[in-house]
Subunit: 501 residues, 2 copies
C-alpha cells in the first residue's frame, strides 16, 4: 500500500513532527533545568519553532498530497495506519489552514501577556488585574470559533481542539447525568463520621518519597531506558519519541500525597506514550488520542490502581519500611481510608475523587457562558463563588482560592477543563471492561503484578496512538460511548464501603 505520494506526505509530516519534538525538549528544559536568565530567549525560540511548524504543516503541498491520496485511500482498509493517517491529517490540516497565522501570532502574544498578568493577579488575589486580559482572550476565542462557522455551538471548535469529534452537547449531556449523582454522594458522605488523614501531613523525607515513587512506577512498567523522571514545580509528562518519554514530579516535604499520587499519575501518561506503535512516529498519529484518553490513563494508575485496597495490600508494608516513624503505627485500613478521604474543598488540583468532577463542571459551565455571552468576565468571581457554594458547599475566601486558581484561561486554553472529568469517566469504563477480560486482576494487583493490566492497555489503547478519535476508541473497546455510569458505580462501591453508606 505504501506509495510515493504517501511517502512524500510522511516526509513533510515528519519534518513538522521533528520541529514539534524539538519544541517539546525546549519546554521540558524550561520547566526542569533552565537557569532563570534563559527564559526570555527561550520564549523567542519556542515561538520561532511553533511558527515554522505551523507554516510547514499548512503548506499547500500537504493539501495537494491529501487531495491526491484521498481517492486512493477510499479503497484502503479504513482501519489501516495509512488510511487513518490520511483521514487524521486531513482533519488537522483543514483546522490549521482555517486559522490565519496573524491570528495565531496575536493569540500567542496575548496569552503570553495574560499569563504574566494572571500570576500577578493571583499573587495579589485581585481579579481586576486579570480581567481585561481574560476579556480579550474570550474575544479572541470567539473569533477563533468563527473561523469554523457554521457550528452547532460556539464552544464546539474549542472543545474539538482537545477532544476531536466531541460536541459541547455531548459533554453537557454526560455532565447533566453525572452532577446530581455526585452531589448526592457527597451529601451522603458528609452525614457520616469522617475519616482521619492527619498522618499524611507530617514530615516525610524527600529522597525517600522519591525512591518509593520510583519503586512503584518501575513495578507499573515505566521503562527507564526509554524515559526519565525529574523534578518541577508543576508535574507534567512530555515525550520526544516513543523511546524518550519523560515525567516530572513535585515532592512536598510535609505531605505524602502530592509526590506519591502525582508520580503515579504522570507515570500513567508516560506508559501510554511509551507504548504507542513506533510505526506511527513522525506522523500526527504518533501520540495519545486526546487529552481525555490521556487522562483516562493517568487517573487509572493514580486512582483506580493507586488508591485501591489491593494495591496497598501489596505496597503498604513496603511504604512502612520507608517511613517507620510516620506509618509504623498506622494500620492498612486507616491508611487506605485516609488516602481516600472525601472533603469538599476550594482547590481543584487537591480535590478527591468524589468531588473533583464538580470543580470541572463549574468551569465548563462558566466557559460556555462566557463564550455565549450570558456571563460577563467582570461578573466571573461572583458567579464562581455562587457555584462553589451550590455544588460543593464551600465559599472561596478570596479570588486566589477561587476564580484565579488555574493557569488555563490565561493561556487561552478555554475548552480544556472538561477533558479532566471525561478522563475520570473513561478510566472507569476501561476498568470495568478490563475486569471482564482479566477476572483475577485484583489478585494480580495484590501480588504487585501489573503485566496483564499494562498489556491490556497497550493492546486496546496505547498502541493505536491517535488513529481513533476519543469517542470511537471508547466505543471500540467498551461497546458504548463515553458513559458516566461505570464511574458512578465505582464511586458508590468504593465510598459506600469506606463510609458505610
Amino acid at each position: 500500500m505504501e506509495n510515493e505520494k504517501l511517502q512524500q506526505l510522511k516526509n513533510l509530516l515528519g519534518e513538522v513532527w521533528d520541529i514539534s519534538m524539538a519544541a517539546a525538549v525546549l519546554g521540558w528544559d524550561q520547566e526542569t533545568y533552565m537557569p532563570p536568565g534563559g527564559s526570555k530567549a527561550r520564549g523567542i525560540q519556542l515561538s520561532t519553532l511553533s511558527r515554522i511548524a505551523h507554516t510547514k504543516f499548512t503548506s499547500p503541498k500537504i493539501g495537494e498530497l491529501l487531495s491526491e491520496l484521498e481517492p486512493e485511500a477510499a479503497n484502503w482498509d479504513p482501519d489501516s495506519d495509512e488510511a487513518r493517517l490520511v483521514k487524521v491529517t486531513r482533519r488537522d490540516y483543514d483546522k490549521a489552514t482555517k486559522v490565519p497565522s496573524d491570528f495565531v501570532a496575536e493569540m500567542t502574544r496575548v496569552a503570553s501577556e495574560a499569563q504574566v498578568a494572571w500570576r500577578e493577579a493571583k499573587e495579589k488575589s485581585d481579579f481586576s488585574k486579570f480581567e481585561p486580559y481574560l476579556a480579550r482572550i474570550v474575544e479572541l476565542r470567539r473569533q477563533y470559533a468563527d473561523f469554523f462557522a457554521p457550528y452547532e455551538h460556539v464552544y464546539d471548535p474549542l472543545l474539538d481542539d482537545f477532544e476531536p469529534g466531541l460536541k459541547t452537547a455531548d459533554v453537557q449531556r454526560i455532565f447533566e447525568a453525572l452532577r446530581p449523582q455526585q452531589v448526592a454522594l457527597i451529601k451522603a458522605i458528609a452525614e457520616k463520621p469522617q475519616v482521619d488523614d492527619s498522618f499524611l501531613h507530617q514530615p516525610y523525607d524527600e529522597k525517600k518519597q522519591w525512591d518509593f515513587g520510583v519503586e512503584v512506577i518501575t513495578k507499573f512498567g515505566f521503562d527507564w531506558k526509554r524515559g526519565r523522571q525529574d523534578k518541577s514545580a508543576h508535574p507534567f509528562t512530555t515525550s520526544f519519541s516513543v523511546n524518550d518519554v519523560r515525567i516530572t514530579t513535585r515532592i512536598v516535604p510535609d505531605f505524602l500525597g502530592t509526590g506519591l499520587f502525582g508520580t503515579m499519575h504522570e507515570c500513567g501518561h508516560a506508559l501510554y506514550e511509551q507504548r504507542v506503535d513506533p510505526a506511527l512516529e513522525r506522523t500526527p498519529l504518533g501520540h495519545g488520542a486526546s487529552l481525555a484518553i490521556h487522562e483516562s490513563q493517568s487517573r487509572l494508575w493514580e486512582n483506580l490502581v493507586g488508591r485501591s485496597r489491593p494495591f496497598w495490600e501489596h505496597f503498604y508494608p513496603r511504604l512502612q519500611e520507608y517511613f517507620p516513624a510516620q506509618l509504623g503505627n498506622v494500620d492498612l485500613e486507616t491508611f487506605y481510608k485516609g488516602i481516600n478521604k472525601v472533603e469538599p474543598s476550594l482547590i481543584r488540583t487537591e480535590a478527591d475523587e468524589a468531588t473533583y468532577n464538580l470543580h470541572i463542571m463549574l468551569r465548563l459551565e462558566l466557559e460556555i457562558a462566557l463564550m455565549e455571552g450570558s456571563v460577563e468576565v467582570k461578573d466571573l468571581p461572583e458567579v464562581w463563588n455562587e457555584k462553589m457554594r451550590e455544588y460543593l458547599g464551600v465559599t472561596p475566601p478570596d479570588d486566589a482560592h477561587g476564580v484565579l486558581q488555574d493557569i488555563h484561561w490565561s493561556m487561552g486554553a478555554l475548552g480544556y477543563f472538561s477533558t479532566y472529568a471525561l478522563g475520570n469517566l473513561i478510566s472507569a469504563q476501561w476498568w470495568e471492561r478490563m475486569h471482564e477480560d482479566i477476572p483475577n486482576l485484583d489478585e494480580q494487583i495484590r501480588a504487585g503484578n501489573f503485566a496483564d493490566l499494562l498489556g491490556w492497555l497497550r493492546e486496546h489503547i496505547h498502541r493505536h496512538g491517535a488513529k481513533f478519535e476519543p469517542q470511537e476508541l471508547v466505543k471500540r473497546v467498551t461497546g458504548s460511548g463515553i458513559d458516566p455510569a461505570p464511574y458512578m458505580r465505582y464511586l458508590k462501591t468504593k465510598y459506600g464501603e469506606i463510609y458505610n453508606l
Copy 2:
C-alpha cells in the same frame, strides 16, 4: 543607522539563530540527561533542524538584502555592529551557498556512519575498520575544498571554517617556529629530576570535587543565574543565549586533575559566552570569534590562572580543607609542581602544557598530507607512530592509543585541531598584555580576586562576540599577529623555575 532592510535581515538571521539554539539544547540534553532509547529520534530531529537552518540561511532573500545593504554599509563606521554584521553575514553566506545541500546531506550521512565505525575500531584497536570511512571523508573534504577553488592551499577552506581568515601557511609558519623550541624544552626537562604527582592519583570524593570546582568558578565570575553545570562523559560548553550558558564536567573518583582543571577550562569558555554584548544576539556575531579565540579563554583560566602559583597560594589551603586525608601532608610547593608535571605521553587530552602543542602539530601535518595526497589513509598508523617517536619520544602500543584516539576525523572535522594549539599561544599573548595593563594582577589572583582579569577580558575580547576575525582581534588587542613567542616565554619561565633549567 537602523533601517528597514537591516531589520529584515536581522529577522531572517534571528530565525536561523533560534533554530540553531534549539539544536544546541537538543545536543546538550543528548549528552547530559537523554535516556539511551532517545538517541535514534534525536539524531533525526537534529538533522531536520540543521537542514532547515541551512535552507533558511542560504535563502536568496538574504543574498538580496546583503547586496542592497552593502553599498549603504560602505558609509557606516566600519567597526559598528551594523557594518560588521553585514560583512560577517556576507562572508558566511557566500561560504554556505557554495556548498550544495546534497553535499551537506552526504557529508552528514558519511560522518554519522564513520563515527559508529570509529567507535568500533577504537574499541578493537583496529584501524582497518575505520580506514574506508576515513578515506571517504578525506575524499569528501577534498571535494569540499574544491567548492572554494581557487585557493592558496587545499587545506585553507577547511581551516577557514574554524578560524575565519586564517591560512594554512600562517599556521605552518607559526608551528615551524614553535616546534623546535618545544622539543628542546621537553628534552631539557627530561634530563632533570622528575616531579612527583602521585598524590593526585588517589580516591577523591566526587561530591567534594564537584563542590570545590563550583567554589572556584563562582570566584572566577561564572554567573549561575545565567548558566549551570551538569555532568557528562565528555565535558563541553554550550549556550542558548548570552543568558543561558551551560558547562559540563567529568569527575574521576581516583584522580583529582580531570574534574578540577576540566571545570576551570569549561568555565573559561562560558565566561566568554556569558559576556558577549546582548545587542549581538540572534545574529552571526552573537558568540565567540572562533575556536582558537575560545580556546584562548578556556586555556587561560585552566592553565595560566588555574595552574599558577598565585592561584594556589589562595586556593590550596581551601582544597586541603576539602581533602585533609589526601593533601594534609602535601605542601603547596609539592602540589604546585605535581599539577605542572611534564611527561611526554600518548594521549592528547591528557598532555601537559609543555607537550600538548606537539600532539596538535602532528595532527595538522597529517591532515595536510592527507589533503595533499602525500600520505595515504592506509599508511596513517605508521606515519602517526613515527611522528610520535620523533616529537615526543614515545611509541603507541596500539592504534587505540595512537591514530584512533580522537573522534574529530570521524566527524569529518579535518581542520579543527590546530585551533587547540593556537588557543594556547593566544592565551599567552593576552596574558602578557593583561599584565601590562594590570600590573598587580598576580597579587589580585593571590587574593582570590578575579574581577579586573575578567573585566579586562570582557572589555577587550568577550563583548565583541564574532565582530572581528581571530587575527584581527589579536592584532587589535596585542598589536601583533598570532605569535608563539609569549607562549614560549611563559613555558620557559614556568618550567625553568620548576625544573631548575
